[in-house]
């Protein structure tokens, strides 16, 4: 459709307003992170004021932030491997076989995405206390699996749905068994899908706050979200460190997000909408 002049002005006005609105908090955080402490606590508005990387060097040399980053990384990687590995075979079965209980299983995984974390929080806390898992990364890995597994199943199912069945039949003719076709044909063909699913599972674990806040107590065991939250205290808020941390935490997420977003959307629409 060709736009009329009036339509074009309207479109650009709308988009510019919301583009600015999307950018303001992000840009302001980045700008704040490169200001010295003395220029942050002011009532003057200056975009750039004595730019310095001091907040970043302080954050990275004080030890705890780096420790939290390692904890986050460990928990997220193990959760991802665990969830994707388990979800793959299940998603394949749901995608390829028509059997009794299939739609019930699919429904359970959809509903599992719906319930609030707090409902599992309390029983899991009791169970982890008994197993002495509180304050260890394993409490997080197990609790993150509760939402990562259903999510991965739905995503992977929609990827497997797009692989032509004929390829598997060809494999069967060449003498491969069911596990053989799955392992030798389906998995290699779905590497992009597996990668994207893994990435989104990783990000959800990387960003999770509620379970981490509840299951971790000692300062060394914290993950980044909870660690950052400890900076916010009513009397002394180190906004330089908070904004620098925010930038460091967000950059990798943002890069990968933009590489993978197209796949998430197609996964969401096929997995979630059509069922």
């Amino acid at each position: 459709m060709k736009m009329s002049r009036r339509q074009s002005v309207l479109t650009h006005t709308l988009l510019i307003i919301f583009a600015i609105w999307s950018l303001v908090p992000i840009v302001w955080t980045v700008l704040t992170s490169i200001k010295p402490e003395s220029k942050i606590f002011t009532t003057q508005i200056k975009l750039i004021d004595e730019p310095t990387l001091q907040n970043y060097t302080t954050l990275l040399t004080r030890g705890d932030f780096v420790q939290w980053a390692f904890n986050s990384l460990f928990v997220s990687i193990v959760t991802t491997i665990f969830a994707v590995f388990l979800a793959a075979t299940c998603a394949y079965a749901i995608s390829r076989f028509r059997f009794r209980g299939r739609s019930a299983a699919l429904y359970v995984f959809l509903v599992a995405q719906m319930f609030p974390g707090v409902i599992l929080l309390i029983p899991l806390f009791g169970i982890f206390t008994n197993l002495k898992l509180i304050d260890t990364p394993w409490a997080l890995i197990l609790s993150y699996a509760t939402f990562a597994i259903p999510f991965c199943i739905l995503m992977l199912k929609s990827f497997f749905d797009t692989i032509p069945y004929e390829l598997e039949e060809a494999g069967r003719v060449d003498g491969l068994g069911i596990f053989g076709t799955f392992w030798r044909i389906v998995i290699p063909l779905s590497v992009p899908g597996l990668a994207v699913t893994a990435f989104f599972a990783f990000i959800t674990a990387w960003n999770e706050f509620l379970f981490a806040r509840s299951f971790l107590t000692s300062k060394d065991a914290l993950t980044l979200p909870v660690g950052m939250a400890t900076f916010i205290d009513p009397f002394n808020q180190p906004w330089g460190l908070l904004t620098a941390g925010s930038v460091l935490i967000t950059i990798p997420v943002m890069v990968f997000f933009f590489l993978a977003q197209r796949f998430l959307i197609s996964g969401l629409s096929t997995g979630g909408v059509k069922g």
């Binding site: 919301f18 979800a87 076989f97 029983p123 509620l210």
Partner: protein, 293 residues
């Protein structure tokens, strides 16, 4: 497709076993706890045997009669919070999707910028806005200062403590709606519009009679998802107002979490079950209404 069910179940067994241990069993424990008076003092430790008792439906009665806790005020605000947020997510998301669905220069750039909020972790978003709302050095008050207006304590003044978390959450939720609705718009066949144009329909008429009806299935799904997510979002309220002032901006999930941190396990578990039941009833009623409409 084959129908050899045993192979399918063999493929699914590992997941089902793990889910049984980490989801179904805890869920059953959680439901069981709602019929007890278990809390931090009577749950038992290494040195003290557990001393909690069965109380039947007492927790549900206490909560639903509004006697023991503030169920109804919190529920009311949670519903308002969800409706207002999803309303803005959907309308703004749709407006932006319609704008991006036209052909013009710079479209991809706009799309990428508008997607940015989705790529920021929710708690980082909350921290960024918290600094903007800061009473003494926040950007918002500094801007007011430029115009000679007095500062506002955004997070402790009525009605701002209700409005500010909504602003943050609206910011957070628009890109998802926009992207999914844009996908929906792109799948509407172009000849529908051409035919309408030939019959002399105005763009407004095409919007109401073609675009909206064609988007119905996508809209139904994203609105349902949006409602569930917004109902359950924890970090925005937790970081921005902390439920304050005086618990006025607490939503059901943060309220439940507080119960948990206070060691009121049975009450918190009952809240969890109530939240889940509310969402389940809501989504099945919603789906039925959507199918009939």
């Amino acid at each position: 497709m084959r129908s050899r069910a045993w192979i399918a179940w063999a493929f699914m067994t590992p997941v089902l076993l793990v889910m049984a241990v980490i989801v179904f069993y805890p869920l059953a424990v959680g439901v069981f706890q709602t019929f007890t008076n278990i809390d931090a003092t009577n749950q038992g430790t290494r040195f003290k045997p557990p001393s909690w008792e069965f109380v039947g439906l007492q927790n549900y009665i206490d909560i639903l009669t509004g006697e023991a806790t503030k169920f109804y005020p919190v529920l009311a605000w949670t519903v308002i919070w969800t409706v207002v947020n999803v309303f803005f997510h959907y309308t703004i998301g749709l407006a932006l999707a319609l704008a991006l669905n036209q052909r013009f220069r710079g479209r991809t750039t706009y799309r990428l910028i508008l997607l940015l909020p989705w790529a920021v972790p929710a708690y980082i978003t909350a921290i960024s806005w918290l600094f903007i709302f800061n009473g003494e050095y926040g950007l918002l008050n500094n801007i007011l200062g430029v115009f000679g207006l007095p500062s506002v304590a955004w997070l402790s003044t009525w009605p701002w403590y209700y409005i500010m978390p909504i602003i943050v959450n609206v910011w957070l939720g628009i890109p998802f709606m926009m992207v999914v609705l844009l996908g929906g718009l792109q799948s509407i066949p172009g000849d529908l519009y051409e035919a309408a144009q030939m019959d002399g329909a105005s763009p407004t008429q095409s919007f109401w009679n073609i675009t909206l009806p064609q988007l119905k299935s996508v809209s139904t799904t994203v609105i349902l998802l949006g409602c569930i997510w917004t109902f359950n979002i924890f970090v925005v309220i937790f970081f921005i107002t902390g439920g304050g002032p005086g618990g006025k901006t607490e939503i059901l999930v943060t309220y439940t979490y507080n119960g948990f941190t206070l060691g009121q396990y049975a009450i918190a578990a009952t809240y969890g079950v109530l939240i889940f039941s509310l969402l389940l009833v809501f989504s099945s009623v919603y789906r039925r209404l959507a199918r009939e409409a």
